[in-house]
């Protein structure tokens, strides 16, 4: 049986629903030594900010049960270098390139999105709204539907590319936030970003991370992610990209059944650099075995 894994997302043709999660794949160069990136459905690069960021002090990663914590702090080479040194290299691949954008002020988001939109080096923008909003005393843009709407309306004005809004799970009501994003002009939603967590070294009695708290990712967060994708798929018209703890083809199937159009894979790349190509092969095998001709056949079936 021939199976069709392809996905049409925001007018972009993806060979399959699998792409890396931002921050877990750099700008692609490192993993290109392990396999041909053309195997992937799309590529999502590290968060890009106006100026280069060094990030938080180390240690800034820690292992926890079925997961990990990170407090990288959006370290990246800055917009100029990303445009000159990182994105042009990806042109040699026939892959949709999605650039993750972060900022501390509405102005920063707008100016980064504007220049990436006009660079012709990206096919879509993913807006990371989990960043602390300096004007609101550090509360994340994605934590308040009014602040989020305001940001999205301003970004929408300068963004000529499809706009994916990546939501934070650290909110009281994800449905309210999702609806606000849809209303304010998002073309798609991706979720979830990391949950805030902490680990204490019981030998020293001190938090392991220098910044004390960090974002929890990995299999530990998958049930939360499935629940949030499911809740949003139920009420939104927009396509949803599911993220959180994906390690196997079965995990991908679960997200698709919850209503996701595509998925992103983060932490699994660290455990196994071949995680994504392996999952893509397994997904094809799984679909053949179960007689699933294309993903539309099962998408959102749990709803």
């Amino acid at each position: 049986m021939q199976v069709d894994m392809s996905v049409n997302l925001l007018g972009l043709k993806l060979k399959n629903p699998v792409m890396p999660a931002s921050g877990c794949f750099g700008f692609g160069k490192e993993y290109s030594k392990y396999y041909d990136l053309n195997k992937l459905g799309a590529i999502v690069v590290k968060a890009t900010t106006q100026k280069a960021r060094l990030g938080n002090p180390t240690p800034r990663v820690a292992e926890v049960t079925c997961g990990m914590l990170n407090s990288i702090g959006l370290a990246n080479p800055g917009l100029d270098k990303v445009l000159s040194d990182e994105l042009p290299w990806l042109k040699s691949y026939s892959l949709p390139v999605i650039v993750n954008v972060a900022g501390e002020t509405v102005e920063e988001y707008c100016s980064v999105v504007d220049r990436i939109s006009r660079s012709k080096l990206a096919h879509a923008i993913e807006l990371n709204v989990s960043c602390p909003n300096v004007a609101q005393g550090g509360l994340s843009f994605g934590a308040d539907s009014k602040v989020l709407s305001e940001l999205l309306k301003r970004v929408r004005g300068v963004c000529s590319l499809p706009l994916i809004v990546k939501l934070s799970p650290n909110v009281t009501d994800i449905v309210e936030i999702g609806l606000a994003a849809q209303e304010a002009g998002a073309d798609a939603i991706s979720l979830i970003n990391t949950l805030i967590g902490m680990k204490i070294d019981i030998n020293t009695g001190r938090p392991v991370l220098a910044r004390k708290v960090g974002g929890l990712s990995g299999p530990a967060i998958k049930p939360v992610a499935i629940r949030m994708v499911y809740q949003l798929a139920d009420v939104l018209k927009l396509p949803i990209i599911g993220i959180g703890g994906i390690y196997t083809a079965e995990d991908v199937i679960e997200f698709i059944m919850a209503g996701a159009s595509a998925v992103q894979i983060g932490t699994a790349n660290f455990t196994n650099p071949m995680a994504m190509p392996d999952i893509i092969d397994d997904l094809e095998r799984y679909m053949k075995e179960k007689g699933i001709k294309d993903l539309d056949q099962i998408r959102g079936c749990a709803l």
Binding site: T58, R60, V61, M68, N70, A75, T271, P273
Partner: protein, 254 residues
Amino acid sequence: MILRVKKNLKLADAIWQMEIEGDFPYNKVQAGQFINIRVGQGHDHLLRRPISIAEVRQDEGYLTIVYRVVGQGTKWLSRLEPDMPLDILGPLGNGFTVEEGKYSLIVGGGIGIPPLYELAKRLSAKVDRLDIILGFRSEHDVFWIDRFKKLASVDLFTEDGSLGTKGFVTKGISEILADKERHIENIYACGPIGMLSAIKGLIGKLQIGGGASLEERMACGVGACYGCTCMTTNRESKRVCADGPVFSWQEVDL
């Protein structure tokens, strides 16, 4: 890649030596590079454990690591038996540059010593003069001294004086640097951060080559996550796993 355990034996207090065999690009290894080892099963441990390559034996098709049991991952390693499979990535990172003809000094502290063995093997074949200074906490922690002694003269220090000279390795380095007869050109070091920054302090503005091998918490181990960064003297951030773990004394801020 999947390799096999050849031998796994205890060397000293909580210190183990493992020989790993199988298909591996042995001929490509630089002294100071590391492998990233998957530990446990399923979702037991999502992050691999970085461990330095202590010796490569291309002729016999194996490599050796020396590791201290400090937590669950290294405890799991210590329980492995010959012929059991081991999932590793490597060789990773940038190792030490072996320069011909230079008067070289190797300085190692505790569990930082293993990668310096492969380095000492290569240097001893290429330089006219090689001195080695090794430091341990006490005689219970000492390993591989005989191996190093076959390659060059070894100055041994222990913090409690139970073996060799009492004190820190920096004592030995200061003496060598103060000696007008000895013109050290390269210092190669691996060990606790305090030791490395003390050495950098002693080097000061002297034009000394070689380099320091750093340790940092890692997630990907291949340069993709920016988890393991360190600072350079001109306030740039570098990834220990991909730009290091070895950095020049002038470049790294310690």
